[in-house]
């Protein structure tokens, strides 16, 4: 089973600081990481490969340094690395990005595409579903468990109050959530191979025969009008003590605020 995993290199937002004057992210000195949900996607692809054979290709769109995210995926065990890197891709919104990734996926060939639920820098969760639409694939989102049987994929799809069991024919596209697995660590040998033995294949817009009207800024129907940091919420308060004590404190506080009478 040949699987494509889409990965994004993102700033480590656990480390991110906001410039209080401009309200924008301070990117300087912030390390880049593989988007956390994407690591779960890589892990799930590797598990499926170990069980059913085939190959795992990791795919990303971004500047040359995004190659580091692909190499990390490779050190975990992914077979091939493909980076879509072209100035013509710059300024893409999720629609143009998902078109571009989809065109690359067509060129690679696949039985299954796995994406992380969402990236921590944009939080849109749109790339996976939009790719599925571009490629006219069945899609299962918010997946927490995956089984493949007889050319079909059976997933548990997490809902707020339970889960759905969804079956789809292959090829298909999944987006996975962090509950799906625990990503493995890259191995030392994998790191050596990723950096010293394997090559990243770089494709431009021409390589994937992308329609220039559908990529980059020109192919993006949405644009960012304004970005701002939301007002910081007041600090939460943690009540401590036995359950009884905590409940009494809580009720007193709620009464104090006239939430309950």
């Amino acid at each position: 089973m040949d699987i494509i995993v889409c990965v994004k290199q993102v700033p480590d937002t656990t480390d991110v600081k906001i410039d209080p004057k401009t309200g924008t992210l301070i990117r300087e000195g912030v390390p880049s990481i593989v988007n956390p949900d994407d690591k779960h996607a890589i892990e799930e692809a590797l598990r499926l490969k170990e069980k059913h054979g085939g190959k795992v290709t990791v795919l990303s769109m971004g500047p040359p340094q995004a190659g580091d995210a692909l190499r990390e995926a490779s050190a975990m065990g992914a077979d091939d690395m493909i980076l879509l890197c072209d100035r013509a891709f710059a300024g893409a919104d999720t629609w143009a990005t998902s078109y571009t990734l989809g065109e690359a996926a067509k060129k690679i060939g696949y039985d299954l595409i796995i994406c992380g639920r969402e990236a921590i820098d944009g939080d849109t969760a749109q790339i996976g579903p939009q790719m599925a639409e571009h490629l006219e694939l069945p899609q299962i989102t918010y997946v927490r468990k995956v089984d493949v049987d007889n050319g079909k994929i059976i997933c548990e799809r997490a809902l707020e109050d339970g889960y759905e069991r969804v079956e789809a024919n292959l090829p298909a596209l999944l987006t996975v959530i962090s509950d799906v697995n625990k990503p493995r660590y890259p191995s030392v040998r994998g790191i050596v191979e990723a950096y010293q033995e394997k090559e990243i294949t770089t494709w431009t817009a021409a390589d994937i025969q992308a329609d220039e009207k559908c990529i980059g800024l020109d192919g993006s129907p949405t644009s960012v009008k304004k970005s701002f940091a939301p007002e910081p919420k007041g600090e939460g308060e943690i009540l401590e003590g036995t359950t009884n004590e905590v409940c009494k404190q809580l009720v007193a506080k709620l009464m104090d605020k006239n939430v309950v009478r």
Partner: protein
């Protein structure tokens, strides 16, 4: 001149740090308390390739450079020095001499499973009366036909009771002094091999140090490692590399003490402000950071020398001497910054202090490092 790590080295640091913080961190204080050997995490380190990092791929290793190895020991020791020494011994004192001096058969049989983490190894040189004076071996290997009969004992042997393979030293010809010492690779399930006293220690309590006892242990002659009579040189060369591992361990402990100190100094308030605002504390922090930076440069330099195939006896001895010394300073002052709390098990700095002390002693005391340095400079 290039001070930056390359991408592989950065990823080794990131991976080792994540593994250490997520997998080892939660048990570090516990194994220090119970002295239970952390079999599962050591096994996982092996599976990830951290137990034979610089061994070539064809012999089960990862084919990594020595600076990456130093970084990995540093990062693991930053969270738990017990795991640090377990790892350092297998890499430096067991895999390395097998790779350097082993026959093809020995490499196939012993090096591959040690480097790929299936097995764990130990290094038996020290005896009750042969510590710094390692040449005064009383363990005897008597040749009989195509085998050696070995009798004697070793003490303070790291990994001993958890090992499947031991590299041991014995006198094959007492009349020749240090030129009569030979090295053997031994399966620890060989009849006549047993584990004696397991040491109760001040620090590195999650690692195991024990006595090896040999009673009429028969070892086939093909298990002779290197040439007969060359064991002392083999041991000294092996310890040169081991010192890079221990220096990295000391560096990791010092780094941990520093980080805990910074965190505590910012949180703890006295006289109405964080103690980090007081110059006494600032000086501790400045001293620690400066010494750690110097030690790190020395440790990586020694590892770099080894990787480049340059002489590293002196740079490794200097790195170990200096890094262990500053680990003592950093951990002692970390407790001082923490005050009474630092003396309790509520904070990890007392463990760091107990762990740091051994780095001034094993694989050559600080005084031995100075002998090695001066001996080489005054040749």
């Amino acid at each position: 001149m290039e001070f930056a790590l390359n991408k592989e080295q950065e990823m080794i640091r990131k991976t080792a740090r994540e593994f250490a913080e997520n997998e080892i961190g939660p048990i570090a204080a516990e194994i220090d308390e119970t002295t239970e050997f952390p079999k599962d995490t050591v096994k996982k380190l092996g599976e990830l390739g951290f137990m034979g990092m610089t061994v070539p791929k064809e012999y089960g290793g990862a084919g990594m450079d020595d600076v990456s190895y130093a970084i990995a020991v540093e990062e693991i020791s930053r969270v738990c020095a017990s795991h640090g020494v377990t790892m350092s011994v297998n890499n430096s004192l067991v895999c390395w001499p097998l790779q350097k001096y082993g026959t093809e058969e020995q490499k196939q049989k012993y090096l591959i499973p040690l480097a790929n983490g299936e097995k764990l190894g130990c290094f038996g040189l020290t005896e009750p009366n042969a510590g710094t004076d390692a040449g005064s071996q009383t363990t005897v290997a008597r040749k009989e036909g195509d085998k050696y009969i070995i009798n004697g004992s070793k003490v303070f042997i790291t990994n001993a009771s958890q090992s499947q393979t031991a590299i041991i030293f014995a006198m094959t010809d007492k009349s020749k002094g240090t030129r009569g010492i030979s090295t053997f690779v031994v399966d620890t399930d060989t009849p006549g091999f047993s584990i004696g006293t397991i040491e109760q220690k001040m620090g590195i309590r999650g690692s195991v140090q024990a006595e090896l006892v040999f009673e009429n242990m028969e070892i086939p002659q093909e298990n002779l490692l290197g040439k007969e009579g060359r064991g002392f040189g083999l041991a000294m060369a092996t310890l040169d590399g081991g010192r890079i591992g221990i220096a990295s361990q000391a560096l990791g402990i010092a780094q941990a003490a520093y980080e805990e100190s910074v965190k505590y100094a910012k949180e703890r308030e006295q006289f109405g402000k964080p103690i980090a605002k007081f110059q006494a504390i600032q000086w501790f922090i400045a001293d620690m950071a400066t010494e750690i930076d110097a030690a790190r440069l020395m440790v990586y330099k020694a590892a770099f020398d080894k990787w480049q195939g340059k002489p590293y006896t002196v740079s490794a001895a200097m790195a170990k001497f200096f890094a262990s010394d500053i680990a003592m300073n950093a951990t002692r002052n970390a407790i001082q910054i923490h005050g009474g709390y630092g003396y309790t098990k509520e904070y990890p700095v007392e463990r760091f202090y107990r762990d740091a002390k051994i780095t001034e002693i094993y694989e050559g005391t600080t005084e031995v490092q100075k002998m090695v340095i001066a001996g080489n400079l005054l040749k």
